[in-house]
Symmetry: C2
Subunit: 505 residues, 2 copies
């Protein structure tokens, strides 16, 4: 989950000056409208590891927003007053009124996460707690409270350096907000905390209140990213309020909230997909032999006695013309055709349209001992349907957690889920499209639509990045495949499958 946060995220000084000026202007505008409308309130939960800069973010927001409708909601160890009441009372007491924004430190996830990281509660108790949080946030949403959840991420080594520096300057340490995870000491405990945090982020990223994980190593980037997120939330809330306001004359049904209100993103997006080294190539001479030996190994593994009690699901997504078909062909060569099926994902049939979205994939799940390959898959909802506006924002936002549930149901039933994103560069795609268009035998492979999609490269890339970030669960993770070189791509796909099978069987 959220591997994109490990990518370099930096803003140069002048870049920051430019971006922040525009951000501040739009933020203030959106905030004034928010105050004016008085329809909703907003709580921004600022979470993250110690040393990630939670306090600095808070100060920055006070600098950039109008502080008249801003309040800080900060929670440490419970006071006497709080101990004498239900746990949840402290948050209710501070509930911001409509038109106001609360910046929350140490929010309602904190205690649960802390207990879990220290091994004080079981996994089941942890999950029950997370579900209670989800219910509360759903209620808040229904009551007009917008909940925006932020996790600031820095690598542990960076955080430790920062904290050491702070400790040298006692005064600054006291002013900084680093006491949250006070009793979590040593690299292993911190590692445990990080893992529990990932779990929490996965389970409480709902359609109504998703988490945003933000790279916090570069303070300039961090602050701009937080501001941009807050801006989007405010603009969306304002649009919703506008749509809900009673119109004087019968108005047409309001359009679904646009994905990006306002003028679109100001910050460069961190791109997992864009950060791949697409120049990787396979060794030409060794290719045939390597391929064959991997196919042999795959065949052995999938006919083994152990595999009879397992299933295999292979998901292929990627840019148009990235070579999904070719890769699947090479996988197929290593598998028993009686226990192997490829499912192309074309437009849904009438039958499928008449049922919930995931139905058309459920019907093709393999039984144990079998393999199903999905050439495009359930991820269509958060890729093409999102970008082309075939479903509403609410629909694709809730799809992330529905997909995570769906894949968890598979892995729990001993199905191994392996997902590939085949990536090529824009130039390589152009070359392949042109080649297809020029060769009669391949012309069927290229359509008007492919050219149209190409025009939305940036939006598809953003959707792909968010998809990978939000559905990269530990037991059903993504493998990104550099595919400008077809041979390299095919070998990597096969090797990944073989390695995962060996690991699991």
């Amino acid at each position: 989950m959220f591997d994109s946060v490990r990518l370099p995220h930096k803003l140069g000084k002048s870049e920051f000056a430019e971006v922040s000026e525009r951000l501040r202007e739009r933020l203030l505008e959106a905030q004034f409208e928010f105050v004016e409308r008085k329809q909703k309130s907003l709580i921004l939960l600022i979470n993250g590891s110690d040393g990630a800069g939670k306090g600095e973010v808070l100060n920055r927001l006070y600098e950039w927003l109008d502080d008249h409708s801003l309040e800080t909601l900060s929670y440490g160890a419970p006071t006497d007053e709080e101990r004498a009441r239900p746990l949840e009372w402290r948050y209710w007491r501070d509930m911001p009124a409509k038109g106001r924004i609360g910046l929350m430190l140490g929010g309602w996830h904190h205690r649960l996460l802390h207990h879990r990281a220290r091994g004080k509660i079981s996994r089941d108790a942890f999950e029950t707690g997370l579900d209670e949080i989800n219910r509360s946030e759903e209620m808040l949403r229904a009551e007009g409270v917008v909940v925006v959840k932020l996790w600031l991420h820095v690598e542990d080594s960076v955080a430790q350096k920062r904290l050491a520096k702070l400790r040298e300057d006692g005064g600054r340490l006291r002013r900084a907000i680093v006491v949250e995870w006070d009793d979590i000491k040593g690299a292993r405990s911190r590692e445990k905390l990080a893992r529990s945090a990932l779990d929490l982020i996965e389970k409480t990223s709902t359609g109504y209140a998703p988490w945003a994980v933000i790279a916090a190593e570069d303070p300039r980037y961090r602050d701009a990213a937080v501001a941009e997120l807050l801006l989007a939330a405010l603009e969306r809330a304002n649009a919703e309020s506008a749509a809900a306001a009673p119109a004087p004359t019968p108005a047409p049904t309001p359009a679904p909230t646009p994905e990006q209100p306002g003028e679109g993103p100001l910050l460069p997006r961190a791109s997992l997909v864009g950060s791949l080294d697409l120049s990787l190539t396979a060794d030409r001479d060794g290719y045939g032999g390597a391929l064959e030996s991997l196919q042999d190994r795959l065949s052995e593994l999938t006919t083994s006695r152990k595999f009879a009690h397992r299933g295999l699901v292979l998901v292929f997504e990627g840019n148009d013309a990235a070579g999904k078909g070719g890769a699947i062909l090479r996988v197929r060569a290593g598998l028993d055709p009686r226990r192997f099926r490829v499912h192309g994902t074309a437009a849904p049939t009438d039958e499928e349209l008449a049922r919930p979205y995931l139905w058309r994939f459920w019907r093709h799940l393999p039984r144990l001992g079998h393999t199903a390959v999905f050439d495009r898959s359930w991820y269509g909802r958060v890729l093409v349907e999102r970008v082309e506006g075939f479903c509403s924002r609410d629909d694709w936002m809730r799809a992330y957690s529905e997909i995570n549930d769906f894949e968890r149901q598979q892995t729990r039933a001993r199905i191994l889920v392996i997902k590939f994103w085949l990536a090529i560069s824009q130039e390589e795609q152009l070359a392949r499209f042109s080649d297809r268009a020029a060769r009669p035998a391949k012309r069927y492979k290229i359509t008007e639509e492919d050219w149209r999609n190409r025009g939305k490269w940036a939006q598809y890339e953003e959707a792909a990045n968010e998809m990978i970030d939000r559905t990269n669960a530990r037991r059903a993770s993504w493998t990104l495949v550099e595919s400008n070189d077809k041979k390299y791509s095919r070998l990597k796909v096969l090797r990944t499958i073989v390695d995962r099978l060996e690991e699991e069987l």
Copy 2:
């Protein structure tokens, strides 16, 4: 929870003939519209103890509905096919298409409930499973699948007699659906199952898919009640589909779905409140002494060392002029004024309107060692706001589970929650209103609104009954107080508080 189901529910033969004729007509009409619109599908989950008549209900529905768009979804022990796939696959495989109705036996709650009743899984694991079910049902709802959940209830003794009779007739037994809880034998195991079922019903009664518990002792009543429920669900679904259909010309915003689409309820409502014996009176001579000794005991208990670590919340709801104020006065006399507050629940202030609904009650929760009395309370949402249409159906439907969560948060924090419903008859209310109107000193107590509310007696009673049914959790249960006689009412209130305190401290 759902105590109303224990009330006598019967329909005479001729009454049934009349009701069922109208029901069948409207059912068919609603079903045809449902098929025609092809916007939604519906799954009716038919659950209940063995011997409650699940199979008979199924047969009846086939008789009353058009079976062209009907299908039975029945699940026993998993087949080979099913065992080779994720658990959830069997339900997905059978997913009814839009316009179709699935009647489901042994649905997705079954396995979990069974495991819990047999002690095979922990409470936390049970709750985690229930939350997964909630997430799935929420997804189904968002995807246009209406989920209607039915629990048919008969007292254990009745069920056992029926089953014995079936066993005598082996052929009928095989045709009946009684094998569900096959290996749950003996009164104690069945008792455990019943308790787990209540738990399940409480935790999975969501705004989007609430449970209906139906008294199934009288087959005529049972079948009519099921049909009425299904009718309401179909009519609501049709109304939603109509509202969502793209209008050819800009149409005004559709009105919120009315609580009772169509012509209103056909069946007499079972009424917990209406079944009280309001002729109960207190012994005139003993009253003063009894009152005083209860107050003394209350004083002792609430000043005890143990009470310092507990809190007390008293909720008073009831008919207008039922004597809430008088009862509260008598409770007050037994309490230390420094650790006791009464909160009247008037129209919400601006401050309160600007925040989520429950906020105005959270702010008044007592700290440990203290007592808070709520003269009317958070139940306003499912009483007055429901009846007067101040909030949408979705809002008050989700309020039940929100309130259950809220009260669980209190009891978990060692607050004792005691809830009273003070009931008087319509005639007694009229007498008290007239008395108030006639006496200048009491005239302020009676307003235009009181007279208006009186006109909606039946609707308020239905709302009260459903409220008691859905929020009668084990640790925060309702006490119904027969209040035509004020003295009887006050003594019962005080005695209940004293008894509960003695039990808990």
